[in-house]
Each structure stands twice: as C-alpha cells, then as structure tokens.
C-alpha cells in the first residue's frame, strides 16, 4: 500500500529487479597494450586484468589466474569504453509528442535490446549510451542509461543497474513547432516554452506540498482531509524539484540556455546538462558558474534556423572555461566514430589528447552521474574497455575489440555478416536494403506534419 505513491520506491524496485537478474560478467587479461587511462595518463606496455566484470588490476607483468583468457595487445591501444551522452538507439519509440509535458514517460519502457544499432555502436567502441526521449516536448520523458550488452532479448539486461534517473527537456523550435504550430497550443514561442516549464514546476511544487501535508496529517486524530489525486506526471516533476533526476535539456541558443538556468535557480534545481547547445560558447562562463554541463556535436549545424550560429570551437571553448563537456552522436551513424568526433577538437581548439578523450569517456560519465563506475581505466571500475589498432584520436583508428563488464561483445575478427538477435520470418531476406535512420530526435512526430 505504501509504495503506491513513491515513484522512488518504484525505481528502486527496478534496481533490485535488475540486480537479481544478473547480467553476464567476464574475466579477461589484456597484456602489453598502451593503456589510455584518462584519469592517470597513458601507460605503455601495461596489462589490465578484469575479474568478474570489474577492473581488478593495472600494471606490468600481471599473470592470468587460471581459466582467465589472455589477449595480447602489443602495439595496440586500450581505453575505457566510449560513452555517448545523447543517443536514440535501442528504442522502439522516442517521442510521446502529444503533450508539451510528458515527464511521466520513460524510454526504459521502450527499450529494444535487439536493435542492431547496439552492435554498430560496439563496433565504434561505445559501451554505454544515453537512450533519450526526443525533443518534441518542453518536458519530455525520462531517459535510460544503457550498457551495450549485445545478444540478449531481455530489456533488463541492457539497463545500467544503479545509473541515476535523467529526464529530457527541449527548448526552442522543436516544441514550438510540434505543439504551437502543430496543435495550436502553448508553447508557440520561446516565451511559451519557459512558461510551460515554470507552470509545470509550480504545479508539481503545490502537488508535492499538498501530498507531504496529507502524509503528515493523516495519522492525526479527526483528520478529515482528502489526499490529492495521484498524478504520475507531477510525481516525476516533483522528483526533479527534489533533485532526484538529472535534467538533460535540448537547447541551441544562448538566450534559452540562460533562460533555463534562471528558471532552475528560481526553483532550486541544480542538476542540469545542456544537450546540443550550439551557442553555449557564448555563455560558457555562465554555464560554468551555474555548475551545468554541456554535451555538444563536434561540427554539425545549420540543419534548421536556430542552429546557424555555430562553431567547431564550441567544445574547446567550453572546456577551457571549465564546463564539463562531452561530444555526443544523436545518431546511429555518428555513434560509430565518436573518437573521430573527439579528435576534431584538436584541429579546432587544440585540446590535449587527454582533454579530447575525456569528451567521450569521463565527461559523459559525469553528465550521466556514473563516473564513479565508468569513464576511465581504474581499479574497481567496470570492465568496459575498447582495444584500438592505433591511437583512438588518429584518423587510422579502428576499434578491434569491445568489452562490457569484461565480456567481449565485439571482435573485428569475428564480425559476422548477420548479427540479428531475432529474425522476423515475415521479413524479406534482402536485409541490405533496409533503411537506417540517422537522426531520431523527432521520431514519432511525423504525423504532425503530414498534409491532411
């Protein structure tokens, strides 16, 4: 009975559920590689041992315990698994685009562990992605942080157990186009977007206070008050106000970035990551001061009006201003070469190797609240590791093997033509012609723009 109102408990139930449903953990010793640890420099001719899914040793001349496979990485580069802070792979649905606020929906309900996009991401060295709700709504749905444990049909197997909750917000043209132009509702303008968020926050605050008051009073004698009607949407927004959820906000323009930080200050919300944020370079000191973070493209812009004022120096400017910055894909294609995307910050902004690699490892881990678990090669962290043939920032870099929790899910030497987990008997055999979608941020909104 008590769990009825506690979405927190509901989520901890998932947690227990996924822990009890043990995912596979592996053991492996990778010898003599050049270890790019991200937090502790580059170590040449060094071994890394993974036991039961965790890094248990880093050093010279480690020996493999009996039964543990050894991989010779002489002349190769070993780095932590790449993390993509903005992706829509492995999802059966991306947008619940029918309402400007859909905080209650959760991409974790729409996971598709059989999406071949996971395997493609592994082939690009990506071990974790942030499977996000789309950008159709001012407050979109909650996201899922997933581990790329390929080959399973179980949704629970790809959830990253223990990862904090995150939620998608969206500013600017997408929500105003969908709801303002599409349905004739607020928000029709950027002012409206702000108003939708403020209203949602204040309604949730009232709801939360009324609920707390009821909880406090209900045991008192002669209390005759009525419980506020359960509202799953307000429950989630209230959790944002409580600081239980990291907000990831789709944004482009500097003015809307400042706007959202002002709104958050008014409500005391602190956990904030700006997604895309093409104009973030204009307000980098302000973002740093707020303590917000930014997840950007290396050099992708001009695909709609609000994304014209952009620069490939964005990431470097943000980094130099002390903003925790990552480079993301938002694409089933770009996710395959995020290491190239990171390398672009060396051409545009002269970031160091370490800074550039942080953009796709430790920094996205911080943005997802999982940096205590992943994002660098350190003893005690998860055994999520990629082996490259060359330095990952080299244009000749090609991932050779990708491990998640010490289990090898990709090996370029064992790369089968047909990796589908399930085969649909009704599907035509000509799989080569299957279309792949690149940008899925606005998936499930197409119907709004069809001519009647």
């Amino acid at each position: 009975m008590k769990k009825r109102f506690s979405i927190t408990i509901m989520f901890s139930l998932f947690l227990v559920g996924s822990i009890s449903a043990q995912t596979e953990k592996g053991d492996v010793l990778i010898k003599n590689g050049t270890l790019i640890t991200v937090t502790n420099g580059t170590q040449e001719t060094t071994d890394i041992l993974i036991r039961d899914g965790k890094i248990s040793g880093i050093g010279k001349d480690l020996s493999a315990p009996s039964g543990v496979q050894t991989i010779d990485a002489t002349g190769k580069f070993v780095m932590p698994g790449i993390i993509d802070a903005h992706s829509h792979i492995a999802l059966d649905a991306v947008n619940e685009a029918t309402s400007p606020v859909t905080a209650e929906v959760w991409t974790g309900d729409a996971l598709n562990p059989m999406d071949v996009g996971i395997y493609r991401a592994l082939a690009g060295g990506v071990t974790i992605s942030h499977a996000m709700h789309g950008s159709a709504n001012a407050i979109g749905g909650q996201n899922a942080t997933i581990k790329h444990r390929w080959g399973t049909v179980k949704m629970d197997d790809i959830r990253m157990e223990g990862a904090p909750r995150t939620i998608k917000f969206a500013l600017g043209e997408n929500p105003t186009r969908v709801h303002g132009e599409g349905s004739g509702l607020v928000p029709r303008t950027r002012m409206g977007v702000e108003q939708v968020i403020r209203r949602s926050f204040s309604e949730a605050k009232e709801y939360m206070e009324a609920r707390d008051e009821h909880e406090q009073n209900k045991k008192k004698r002669n209390y005759k008050g009525t419980e506020p009607t359960y509202d799953i949407r307000k429950e989630v927004v209230a959790d944002i106000l409580r600081g239980d959820i990291i907000v990831h906000s789709h944004s482009y323009r500097a003015d809307e970035i400042l706007m959202l930080m002002n709104v958050f200050k008014d409500y005391g919300v602190e956990k904030l990551v700006f997604q895309h944020a093409n104009e973030a370079f204009k307000v980098a000191p302000e973002i740093a001061e707020f303590g917000a973070m930014a997840s950007v493209f290396a050099d992708w812009w001009a695909y709609k009006f609000e994304v014209y004022y952009s620069t490939a120096y964005n990431a470097a400017i943000l980094v130099q201003n002390g903003v925790t910055t990552s480079i993301n894909s938002d694409s089933g294609e770009l996710i395959r070469h995020l290491y190239h995307e990171a390398a672009k910050t060396q051409k545009y902004g002269e970031l160091t190797d370490e800074q550039a690699l942080e953009l796709i490892t430790l920094n996205p881990a911080k943005q997802l609240g999982i940096d205590d678990r992943v994002g660098s090669l350190e003893v005690g962290k998860d055994g999520d590791v990629v082996i490259f043939n060359n330095h990952p920032l080299s244009i000749y870099a090609v991932p050779q093997m990708t491990f998640v929790d010490g289990v090898k899910y990709f090996d370029i030497k064992e790369d089968e033509d047909d990796v589908r987990t399930y085969v649909n008997p009704a599907e035509e055999v000509d799989v080569m012609n299957k279309m792949t979608e690149h940008e899925k941020c606005m998936t499930n909104t197409e119907w709004l723009f069809l001519n009647e």
Binding site: M1, R4, F5, M10, L13, F14, G17, D92, A93, N95, E96, A97, T98, S99, P100, V101, T102, E104, V105, W106, T107, D109, A110, L111, N112, M114, H133, G141, V153, K154, M155, D156, S183, L185, K224, T226, E227, T229, Y230, D231, I232, R233, D417, D418, R420, Y422, V423, N424, P425, A426, E427, V429, V431, N444, E446, W447, E452
Partner: protein
Amino acid sequence: MKKIIWTFLFVFLVLGPIKAQDDQLAPVTGTIAVTNVNIVPSPGELIENGTVLVKDGLITAVGNNVTVPPGARIIEADSMYLYSGFILGMSNIGIKMPEQKDRPDIKDPGNPPNDQAGITPDRAVNEYLDPGHRSISDWRAAGFTLAQTAPSGGMLPGTAAVILLKGKSIEDMILKPGTALYATFDGARRMYPSNILGVMAKHRDLFRQAEQSRSSRQTYMDDPSGRTRPNYSKVREAYLPVLEKQIPFIFNTEEVLSAQRAMLLQEDLGFDLVLAELKQGWDISSDISETNTKVLFSLDLPELKDKDKEKDTVKDETPTAEKQLLESRREEFTKKHYQQMGQYASANVPFGFSGVEGKPADVQKAVQKMVEHGLSQEAALTALTTTPASMLGISNISGTVESGKMANLVISSKPYFEKDAKVRYVMVEGMVYENEEKEAKESDPETLEKVTGSWSYTADTPDGPITGDMVLEESGGVLSGTITNSLTGEETTLQDLVFADDNLSFSFDVIIQGQTMNVLAVLTVSEDELEGTFSGAGEAYSVKGTRSPNQ
C-alpha cells in the same frame, strides 16, 4: 456396419451440398448418446468403443457399459475420437464493435477524453456480443465450445467474459461475465497516449489512481462525517476486481518485448497477469514461471515452408551462400514459433491458446505442427482443454469428459492430431453441430468474373478518406489480388479471398510506423460498384468502390 457407413456417405454426398457449412441439428430430444466412440475423457486417457450419454446439456454417463435409454438420439461415431470441447483462453469472438463515425475534434491532444484515448475498461462483453456473428460458428466448427472474449480497440478495450459458442441471445451465451480486464499496448491515434511510451505511463497512472480511489472510498464509507465525498469513476470502478486479485489483467503481447513490458508493469503494480496472443515466448519461459504469469499462445503463427512446394519455385537459380544462410536463419526462427510449446510443456509451464489473430480454419494444422515440433499430443490436448478451463476458473464446468460436466464435446474422424483428421461433430451444452466435408475451394470462373478486374475505392475514416486501388485476378477458379492505400502508398497482397453470393471478403496488412495492422474487408458487389466495411485494430470504416474502366 457397412450399411451405416453407406448411409453416412449418402447423407454427405446428397444432402451435404444443400446444407449450410456448419449445421445445427434440431433437438428432437434432450437425450443424446454418442456410441461406439473412442473417448479421451482427459488428456492421456482413452476409453475404446465407449458411449457418452448426454442429457439436457450435461454429460450423464461415460464409459463402456452405458445403457442408452429409449428415445435417446443416437450419434453413431464408430471409430471416431471424442474429446472435451476446446476452450479458447482469449479472443474477440462474437464481438461487433460499433462503426467509428467522425471523430470529435480533440482540442488538446495531450488530454483527450478517456473513451477517445482507448481507455474503456468498463465496456462489457454483453454490450457488443452479436449471437449471429460469423466468428462464433467458425470457431465452433474448429472444435471450440467455450471462449473468453472481450471488446477490442484501444489500450483498455474492456472487460472480458467467458461465452458458450452457441445460442440465439446474449443471455444464452454468457457463461461468466467480468472474467478479466483486457489490455493492449496500442496507442491512441494523434492523441495521448500515442505510443508505447505514453501507454506504459498511462497504465501505471490509471492503476495507481484506481488503488488510491479504492482506499479513499473505503475511508469515506467507514467514516463519512466531515469528509469530502470521493467521485465515482467508471474507469476506476472497472479496476476493482483486478485490485482485489479476483480477476487478472490480460495483456495482448505478441512479441517478446511486449511480454516483458507487461511483466514490467506487473512487477511495478502487482496484479495477476495473463499474456495472450504470445508468439515469441521461447526466451522468456523462466521469467514467466517465476512471476506466476499465465500464457496463451497465439494460433496465428508464421508459415512453415512446405519443402516439396519450395522445390518447384526455386528451380530457376541456385541461391548465393549468403542468401542460403539468411534463409536458414529465417527457417530456424520460424520453427522456434512451433517448438516453444514443447519447451513450455517440458518445463511444466502451463499454457493455453488465444484466438485474437488466428483463423479457426488453421488451428488444427497449427497444433499438429506444434506436435511435429516436440509437443506431446497429451500436452497439446491439455492446452486446448484443461489448462484454459483452470485459467478461467471453470474446471468444474468443462475441460474433461466426465459425468456431471457440461456437454461440450468434439468428435473427430481420427485422432485429432493425426493428419487428415476432421472435426465431424461439435457439441455445445448438448447442442449438436455437424461439420460437413468442405467443398473444394474452386469456384466457377464465370461467377468470379463479377469481381475480377481493377477497382478503385474510398474508405471514410475519422482522419479523412483513404483511397486506393484493388486488382483481382482469377486463375483456375482461384481468386488472387492486391490492394494499395493512400495512407502508406504500399501495395499488399490480399489474403483469404472469398467471393460468394456477391459477397467479397479478404484481409490485408497495412504497416504503419512499423506496426502491422490486419484489415478485414467485407464487401458487397453489385455490377460495377462495391460497398461494405474495412475493419482493423478495433475500428470499422465504411468503404465504397467502383470498377475502373478497362484500358
């Protein structure tokens, strides 16, 4: 002995073609004896050359030493096999949903009225049951005597009931109302919840609101003085028996991911769960047994390729190694659909069948293929009789051939699971229905000329008209055809084409945003025009068409 057979043949040959396909014999007497028949009283048992005596809708005696009272109607079922009538765990049998007229203009798609958003758990079977519905006689002809059925359409289409597949009135047919709450993951079109994201959240929201409502009403009833009266809601009211765990939630879950989503909701909310129409269950049997979930497998399974026929079609060129590999994987996965029942039976995970998608005429073949792929005949019969009976809480009424139980029987020309076995008689609560041998499907080419050719059609939907072309062809007395539609622009093949007495019916698939919707067309043809309905996903639209001028 021979005489009897000749009489039989005479009846079939001479009288057969005049009769309707599935005939109800007028009850002259309330007492019926099925004699000299091999009785399978329950799965795994056999009484050879026995007699089953039925009186006033009940089985009164079963065995070898049954005295047939004078005046009883005798069905001489020599060498035939008699089973308890089959029970379908879930279906939309007999349900006729109203035609969707113009959809009211939804001002705020984020907050539509429940009935527009597919949230109608309060809809009951008796409101939509049509005793003359063809599905009733079709499923009965396949051996089914009882079925759970529910309204269709939306994420919460309504409350299910167990019905008898006989009767002239709703009152005759309903055995047990309010047996389950039926749920799907279908989104509402162009309004909240529009897809799996919103539907999952809405299921949680509604369930928790219903729980809250139940407790606040209890508080009010216990001590109303000074309290605000809680409002009544028909939606929340419909949840009550589920909250009390008196009835389960039945989720329509064809795919392995849908099944997991239903179990995810079960884990969050805590209700008794039945997975209906399951097609991909082979990887989740342990989750199912751990969560005490009940399973109803779909009878609409992918076609297993007939090896002999394949040889004829693939003679032109040798397929490449890659294509062979892809084909072999496809075959492997097709087979899994038939092998999983055997796996479940070996793991002692009980299951029955549902008929939301499947066609009654294909059931026997599908079950025989399951048996070919490792399901024992005994387990197959269990899934058709005793398991669904116990799932529906009617084990004491039906499911076995026992004295005192309802006279629901299936009589098959040979053991049901043997090739060429035909269901000859079906008895529902003592009412005997006889299946005649089916005529060959071939029709007179001259009759078919009335429909062959090109047609253009317009279907009126609440979202505006959908138009397209149909092309029908006749070859060797068999109809085939294709259809296009302006919604997806795709051309699809027509299935189950039947044309008789100016009535044309067929079905086809439309794939909208990755979801396959099966549309059933029922049309009447007159000269160069046709008229009728398209129905699918719980909605029906009126259709008109004209013959395209010859070019």
